[in-house]
């Protein structure tokens, strides 16, 4: 007797039960999708243009920038270093002169170097940091000596703003605009009075907006600087109509930075974590606390450096009803870090 092979019996899963399994599977999928949306979709990251490149985003050659930065700040004798370009040599010599206490000559040499390569953010950043340190030390000395209205010596008066205004007039690029904007932010950091901070912030944001809205919408350094500017504007300030910005202005700019960083896969984990944390802070200011918490958690997972972890832990400890006040205090503290000013672009390439 030949036994005929038994076809798989479809009726082994009754039609009703099969439908049930399908329903359960679909519900599980929907739940997963909802969960994923809650965790990521709600994070509101903006779309990044498909044609955006590292160069247009201002993120190309970060390794080379780091190397150049290390060289010009190096204390190793010049003969023992790889050969530097003439402009880099000028900047390096200027830094050396500043270290020897020859501020006037130092700044002049650095300016010469920058004029030879005006788009070089590493050189411009070095100049700003040197001027910042000199002005910071001068103000600290004036405070110690109880000088009521300190007046900067001529080489520091209106610097670095005056130099970058001149540079931008002669060589009008997105980089020189960025330098000038950051020089205004330096002014905010050095002077605690809101009456200085507010107009400086307006100047900086106007310049950065010119860069972003007129040709370089994906230029990350400008987006980051403008986002931080919005973030650090004290919530208690009341702005005239002309200078008012949307409540989520910081979140928009910083969100774009995060999205671009993710798309282009560049920047260190530390940089990504700092961006994510700042974005969380920006959402606090926009009144969206759950999104803020999500970004802080992302930052915590991105980088295990002690400073990032400690900063995130502090934020987790803020009760919702005090969160804005606590964030403002935290931002005040970070602006008060004058030994490591937040405008130091080295964060980008380090």
């Amino acid at each position: 007797m030949n036994a005929t092979p038994v076809e798989p019996n479809e009726s082994a899963w009754p039609a009703g039960r099969r439908k049930l399994y399908w329903c359960v599977a679909l519900m599980l999928l929907a739940a997963l999708a909802a969960l994923a949306w809650i965790r990521t979709g709600m994070l509101d990251l903006p779309a990044v243009p498909a044609n955006l490149t590292l160069a247009t985003a201002g993120l190309a050659d970060l390794n080379q920038m780091k190397k150049l930065n290390d060289q010009i700040w190096s204390t190793t004798p010049t003969g023992q270093q790889p050969a530097l370009s003439p402009e880099a040599l000028l900047v390096q010599r200027g830094i050396g002169a500043y270290r020897r206490g020859e501020a006037k000559a130092a700044l002049e040499e650095m300016r010469q170097g920058i004029r030879l390569d005006p788009n070089n953010l590493v050189f411009a950043n070095a100049y700003r940091m040197v001027v910042f340190a000199a002005r910071r030390d001068f103000l600290a000395a004036a405070r110690r000596e109880m000088v009521a209205t300190p007046k900067f010596p001529p080489e520091l008066d209106r610097q670095p703003i005056a130099f970058f205004e001149e540079l931008d007039r002669r060589h009008h690029t997105r980089e020189t605009r960025l330098d000038l904007a950051l020089a205004w932010v330096d002014e905010m950091l050095l002077f605690p009075a809101l009456e200085v901070k507010a107009p400086s912030s307006v100047e900086a944001v106007d310049l950065l907006t010119q860069v972003i809205d007129h040709g370089d919408p994906g230029y990350v350094p400008a987006l980051f600087a403008r986002g931080l500017n919005h973030l650090h504007r004290p919530a208690r300030l009341v702005w005239p109509e002309s200078a008012k910005t949307p409540r989520d202005a910081a979140a928009q700019d910083l969100g774009k930075c995060v999205a671009i960083g993710r798309k282009l896969h560049t920047g260190s984990a530390h940089l990504h974590a700092v961006l994510a944390m700042n974005l969380g802070d920006a959402y606090v200011k926009a009144g969206r606390l759950s999104v803020a918490h999500s970004w802080w958690q992302i930052a915590q997972n991105l980088c295990h450096d002690d400073d990032v972890q400690a900063a995130i832990h502090r934020r987790y400890g803020w009760p919702d009803d005090e969160i804005l006040d606590r964030l403002e205090a935290e931002l005040d503290r970070s602006r008060g870090e004058l030994d490591h000013p937040m405008t130091d672009l080295a964060l980008m390439w380090n």
């Binding site: 209205t149 009075a193 919530a235 009341v238 702005w239 005239p240």
Partner: protein, 640 residues
């Protein structure tokens, strides 16, 4: 027994009465500072509602005009031909009426005095006096330094004619010169029905009786605000429009204080018959500064649902978090379903509001809502426990208690717009009563949840009767000061058409008093600080300056005010109750110039239990009182 014991054990702990032990004695007559207020009387065309229209004017302004260390008292009389009174404080528990010698009687020749504020308009270290009136030009008296005053109103350009009930000194642009903000109640002009033209609204010679508010909830036909900027050369300029203060509500009280901690004085305007207004000063971002009207999420000017009958405003940091909170009095009459009540607005971070600060009304939960028909109110720490208490006056029109006006008024409230404008259409008030027998409220702050550090919402217990505040006059202005420099805050209450009350704080007689600190700040306008393209400076009176006491248990902050709230000005010195002097870590002074000074450790603790004078740029000094001026140990007893 076990059940009862279990119940007692499980029952919630009662609220602690820390701070409720406070007592006052009324001594106006025996101290020589009694004034029986005379009411304003308008033209006969308004007879039907004269009790309503003549229901304001009792005001008091307290300041040490002769720099002898003791706060003096200026009280207002509003009746035609009557004069205001200046009571000089001898410092021995008695006062002397020095009005005539000083030349500040300000007899009501054509109108009626309503309020007065003290402020040093020329920064010469002597307090000047600005008197505001209905139907008569306001008067600015310059202190000559010899006990006399000189009328400089016209030359200074501040002789405004109108109907102001609210006025304050502030330095809105922080240039080191005191500016003046006035708010008129009635409109300054009215339409002449015969010519159709707008003419002066003279309530003593009216061309029309259509002078009342157009609605009970959103009237905009009241008087205007006038902001006088002090040019620093003895003259003022009207900058009202430039500063953005051009609305026309029925304002009864105004307060200036830095509500968002940006260093610039903001304004809370308490309006009758419409929403209150909150203006934030844009000085930090704009030069010259302007005032930006805050619109609440419902689109109303103000900070939330305020019940449209703002009678008074006071600002102080009631929960010790470093931000000024706001107390606004209102109309509360449970018997007639007018359950609107006073409002205690707690200042809290809120990114949705301009200035980053939102306000939450906690009056009901905190026990400060029922103030009766409210008028002047003040924050003050009466028992030196480090927690601010509230004195809240009330009472509108006293009449026959068996015949009240509530039915008539409620009928009018439900009418549609414009039917209230004509005073002639109002029902006759006659001898009817309208919340005229109210007991005052003394809300003493208590520790709501003992041992719970997370609890930051203040709670209060009403204690007026046990504290000895038993009179039922119609209270208007209340000024708080340490008149006898014994470290406990006293009060002077101006009652409408009735005797004033001088309440001496006797809480600590025969007991070891809790600690206190009383600081008189003296700014130095010449020490201005250049900030960007402007120079910020403090006024001599240091209006807007802050003193903060930092202790192991938290902070207490006070801001110097140049006259705050309805018909009253408290003394310029700021007072702190310090229950534990050993917990004090440091004391800071934050000046309008931007200068911050700090005293730490033992130096700070050494100031406790003293009256201190802190001059800008110098170290604080303890004031030594002349022996003859020491407060008397025993005071004459009186009954209210």
């Amino acid at each position: 027994m076990f059940v009862a014991a279990g119940f007692l054990w499980l029952a919630p702990r009662p609220e602690m009465d820390i701070g409720c032990d406070v007592h006052f004695e009324e001594r106006a007559a025996v101290s020589g500072c009694l004034n029986v207020h005379s009411k304003v009387v308008l033209e006969a065309a308004f007879t039907n509602i004269m009790p309503w229209l003549s229901s304001v004017g009792a005001a008091v302004a307290v300041a040490d005009y002769d720099n002898d260390g003791y706060p003096d008292i200026y009280v207002i009389n509003s009746g035609r031909g009557d004069h205001n009174r200046l009571f000089h404080n001898h410092g021995d528990g008695t006062f002397e009426d020095v009005t005539e010698r000083a030349g500040v009687g300000c007899t009501n020749f054509t109108g009626g005095c309503m309020h007065a504020i003290w402020g040093d308009v020329n920064n010469d270290g002597l307090l000047d006096l600005y008197v505001v009136k209905w139907g008569e030009s306001n008067t600015l008296y310059l202190n000559q330094g010899d006990g006399t005053f000189k009328d400089v109103s016209h030359a200074a350009g501040v002789d405004h004619w109108g109907y102001a009930n609210a006025a304050t000194f502030l330095d809105y642009d922080r240039d080191g010169h005191l500016d003046i903000l006035l708010c008129d109640y009635f409109a300054e002009e009215v339409k002449d029905p015969h010519t159709g033209k707008m003419v002066r609204n003279d309530l003593w010679h009216p061309v029309s009786t259509r002078v009342m508010h157009e609605t009970f909830t959103d009237a905009r036909n009241g008087g205007h605000k006038i902001l006088y900027r002090n040019r620093g050369d003895g003259t003022f300029e009207d900058v009202t429009e430039k500063a953005g203060l051009n609305s026309g509500p029925w304002t009864l009280a105004v307060g200036a204080g830095d509500l968002n901690n940006d260093g610039w004085p903001d304004l809370y305007v308490a309006n009758d018959f419409g929403p209150d207004e909150l203006y934030l000063n844009t000085g930090a971002t704009e030069n010259p500064p302007r005032f930006r009207l805050v619109i609440d999420p419902r689109g109303h000017p103000g900070i939330g649902n305020d019940w449209w009958k703002g009678m008074n405003v006071d600002m102080a940091d009631v929960n010790n978090d470093g931000y000024l909170d706001i107390y606004v009095s209102n109309v509360f009459e449970r018997r007639y379903k007018t359950d609107e009540g006073n409002m205690l607005w707690l200042n809290c971070a809120d990114p949705t509001f301009p200035g980053g600060r939102g306000f939450r009304n906690i009056a009901k939960a905190s026990g400060t809502m029922d103030g009766g028909w409210g008028w002047g109110c003040k924050f003050a720490d009466f028992n030196n426990d480090g927690l601010l208490d509230i004195i809240a006056l009330n009472g509108f029109v006293t009449g026959d208690p068996n015949r009240n006006y509530w039915y008539q008024i409620q009928e009018m409230v439900t009418q549609t717009k414009n039917q209230t404008v004509n005073a002639a259409d109002w029902p006759v008030m006659g001898d009817r009563d309208l919340s005229g027998h109210d007991h005052k409220r003394l809300f003493m702050q208590i520790h709501s949840r003992p041992g719970d550090p997370a609890s930051k919402e203040p709670r209060f217990r009403e204690m007026a009767q046990p504290a000895g505040i038993t009179e039922t006059y119609n209270g208007r202005g209340v000024a708080v000061a340490d008149f006898n420099l014994d470290g406990a805050l006293d009060m002077y209450v101006a009652n409408q058409g009735a005797p004033s009350c001088y309440y001496v704080n006797t809480s600590f007689q025969g007991k070891k008093p809790p600690g206190f600190l009383r600081v008189l700040l003296v700014g130095r306008p010449e020490l201005g600080i250049k900030v960007g393209d402007r120079v910020l400076a403090s006024t001599v009176n240091a209006v807007g300056a802050r003193v903060t006491v930092h202790t192991k248990n938290g902070i207490q902050m006070r801001e110097v005010q140049g006259g705050m709230g309805f018909a009253s000005q408290s003394e310029y010195a700021v007072h702190f109750g310090i229950p534990d002097a050993s917990a004090v870590e440091r004391i800071t002074a934050q000046w309008p110039s931007g200068r911050v000074q700090e005293i730490e450790g033992n130096q700070a603790r050494a100031l406790i239990n003293h009256h201190v004078r802190w001059v800008e740029g110098k170290k604080p000094e303890v004031l030594d009182l002349p022996a003859s001026k020491q407060p008397r140990a025993a005071r004459p007893e009186t009954k209210p």
